[in-house]
């Protein structure tokens, strides 16, 4: 459908449709962020013998996040006197914009995708890498020592873990022969890549946690050492933008793992085809998000230098070995 619209001559009609679709996706993502945060707090709460939010919006706390966002928007806008003002203002936007840009290539079902570009996977990784600029700039512009340390950690960590992230997914690309996310999904009709590429999946998953700055790799904002890391001086809606970026990336990364390793919208068995693809996608996606939350409740944090060692000395060699193995198997058996 979208393909046809793209081919048709421009006019008010297809402009309207595109605008509407964009608004729908925005609502889906913001809805996820709102209820993803609630789910995280609820799941963490139940794992930690607490109830989580249960006051605002009924006993499930359904309006808690909405109330929190409203509070953040209404807060006084504070810019520290010693901060580098233009950079301080622009940093949250730099961190946040790429998180929405990556969603354009994400095939949620076989019909619902905005830009079916040939190098979708490469586009995702390249654009998501831009976010680290926002963090480093934010940390630098705050003119705060903790923020600076947090920003430096963010830069080191993101760059080091982007490499195993790309390398681990090369095995999948070798098997499909394409960087197009649609083709990667359709290739998984006879077996998901989590089964064909188990090593690649594990490396990718670990690296993705580091990319998302979540426990046990939440060093850039490690609360117990750096107080809040790169966003220690931010408050109000600027801080909300950093948080929004973080949760949109959680959405995007979970979607990417679903697409690349869990067969996207495809049903696990042929006879379950009657259930729509969107439902399958949502199910797999939710499982991935749950695992991220689960890990956060369980694990302590890495140490900065060990984190680097782990990325370069463990994950990268494994990812490279995985590429070699995949290439070998492919040339022998396919």
């Amino acid at each position: 459908m979208i393909e046809e619209l793209l081919q048709s001559s421009p006019g008010w009609a297809n402009f309207g449709i595109f605008f509407l679709l964009g608004a729908v996706l925005l609502l889906i993502v913001l809805g996820f962020v709102t209820y993803g945060i609630l789910a995280e707090r609820k799941v963490l709460g139940y794992m930690q013998l607490r109830h989580g939010p249960n006051q605002v919006g009924g006993k499930w706390g359904l309006l808690q996040t909405v109330a929190d966002v409203l509070k953040l928007l209404l807060k006084e806008d504070i810019i520290p006197k010693a901060a580098d003002k233009p950079l301080f203002i622009i940093a949250p936007a730099i961190a946040f914009a790429p998180s929405f840009m990556v969603l354009a290539t994400m095939p949620f079902t076989d019909k619902f995708q905005f830009a079916d570009i040939g190098v979708g996977l490469l586009y995702y990784i390249a654009v998501s890498g831009l976010t680290v600029f926002g963090m480093v700039l934010g940390g630098w512009a705050s003119n705060n020592k903790y923020a600076l340390l947090g920003g430096m950690r963010a830069a080191a960590q993101m760059i080091s873990y982007e490499i195993p992230l790309v390398m681990s997914v090369l095995g999948v690309i070798l098997l499909t022969g394409s960087l197009n996310l649609n083709e990667i999904v359709t290739h998984q009709e006879h077996g998901w890549f989590i089964l064909l590429q188990p090593i690649g999946f594990i490396v990718f998953f670990i690296a993705s946690i580091a990319e998302l700055n979540r426990t046990p790799f939440d060093l850039p904002e490690s609360e117990n050492e750096l107080v809040a890391g790169y966003h220690v001086e931010y408050s109000g809606f600027r801080w909300a933008f950093f948080m929004l970026a973080e949760y949109v990336y959680l959405f995007a990364m979970s979607a990417l793992i679903t697409v690349v390793f869990l067969g996207g919208w495809l049903a696990p068995f042929g006879f379950l085809d009657f259930i729509p693809g969107a439902v399958w996608f949502a199910l797999k996606f939710s499982v991935v998000v749950f695992i991220y939350i689960w890990l956060r409740a369980t694990l302590p944090r890495f140490r900065a230098d060990r984190l680097m060692e782990f990325g370069w000395k463990v994950l990268l060699p494994i990812a490279l070995a995985n590429i070699f193995l995949t290439a070998l198997l492919k040339s022998l058996f396919f």
Partner: protein, 366 residues
């Protein structure tokens, strides 16, 4: 040209991982600490000076507020010192109540140490599991004394309140429950690779260092020195119970972590025996004069608190108030080795090392 510069970082007084109002001025080169200077005194209330104008019974609530995580041992040290000076014989039932209260408090204190230590290392859940079990102890001590943290329970010559009906049974049921929980704690954290990576071989010091810096408690025993006043200089009725003094040879953060959990186990052993031998009847307060006047002279007593050796020195000129009162506060002494340990470590290790010493700022500042 690239030029690097040392940076001075003020960690605290408001910082999530300093366990209170403790300030650490560190010089860092990148993330490596070249020099660390602890600044203390933000919680100083002058307990020792205030005590000079107070009668002995009035000082007891002040001791609650020194090491607020184990107020029972603090209560005891003051009462013990005055009793030693006056030669008061404490009734058996009171002694049992004191030991049960102190050991319960020791378990609670070590649970806080365990939970907050893991929290410092970035894991949030174990902290809450530890506090759930601590809550049970706090509730029991609340039933006994009427307070949850600052108990003000002991008096010169005995204790203030008798155990309420069914309380001893509650303690008896708690012991096996806590043993089960301890196993769960080990399963959850002790074998975790990330955790081991953070604490193994970190903050190591030798036996000589520990003795020279006058460390005590788990901080001393982690280097292999078997020194526990409950065993080596038994006070109260500790000589009636059988328990071990766990030690370790490593001297690193992991050893201290394990020792605290092992000490909880030993405290549970003591509790089990104390509850079994608990005398059915008897007075809870010795016959003491209405106005307590320590005889002219001086005395120094010391006992084993969860954090180490706590001592109390009283000089009296025969009045209702002490002429001079001095506490040897173990957290203060244990903290002194910190600058030596921090040199050359990075920021993440700083948190791990400080947490493993297990200080209570109320006690450091006095």
């Amino acid at each position: 040209m690239i030029r690097t510069e040392e940076m001075i970082l003020n960690v605290g007084p408001q910082h999530p991982s300093t366990h209170g109002v403790f300030r650490l001025v560190v010089k860092i080169d990148g993330e490596i600490i070249t020099e660390a200077k602890p600044v203390i005194g933000y919680l100083h209330r002058g307990t020792e000076k205030l005590a000079e104008d107070l009668q002995y019974t009035q000082i007891i609530p002040y001791t609650d507020r020194m090491d607020y995580l184990s107020s029972m041992t603090n209560n005891y040290i003051l009462c013990h010192a005055v009793e030693t000076m006056m030669g008061i014989e404490v009734p058996e039932r009171a002694d049992f109540l004191r030991v049960i209260a102190m050991e319960l408090n020791r378990v609670a204190s070590h649970l806080v140490a365990w939970g907050t230590y893991i929290l410092d290392l970035g894991a949030t859940s174990p902290f809450i599991y530890a506090f759930r079990d601590r809550e049970m102890i706090i509730n029991m001590l609340n039933e006994l004394s009427g307070a949850r943290l600052t108990f003000n329970y002991m008096r010169v010559g005995g204790v203030k309140w008798d155990a309420p009906e069914g309380w001893i049974e509650k303690v008896r049921d708690f012991v096996p429950y806590m043993r089960g929980q301890l196993k769960g704690f080990h399963d959850l954290v002790s074998g975790n690779e990330i955790f081991l990576d953070r604490v193994k071989g970190i903050g190591r010091y030798t036996k000589e260092d520990a003795i020279n810096y006058s460390l005590s408690g788990p901080n001393l025993r982690c280097t292999g020195v078997k020194w526990d006043l409950r065993k080596d200089e038994p006070y109260s009725i500790y000589n009636r119970f059988e328990f071990d003094v766990p030690t370790s040879e490593e001297g690193d953060c992991l050893a201290r972590y394990h020792l605290r959990l092992a000490e909880i186990e030993q405290s549970l052993n003591i509790l089990e025996q104390a509850v079994a031998q608990f005398p059915g009847e008897g007075p809870i307060l010795a016959k003491v004069p209405k106005i307590i006047k320590a005889p002219k002279g001086e005395a120094f007593v010391r006992i084993e608190s969860p954090r180490g050796e706590i001592g109390c020195y009283i000089a009296s000129d025969g009045k209702k108030e002490p002429y001079r009162l001095k506490f040897r506060r173990p957290s203060f002494y244990n903290l002194q080795i910190l600058p030596k340990l921090l040199k050359g470590e990075n920021i993440a290790n700083m948190i791990a090392i400080l947490g493993a010493i297990d200080i209570v700022l109320g006690e450091v500042d006095g």
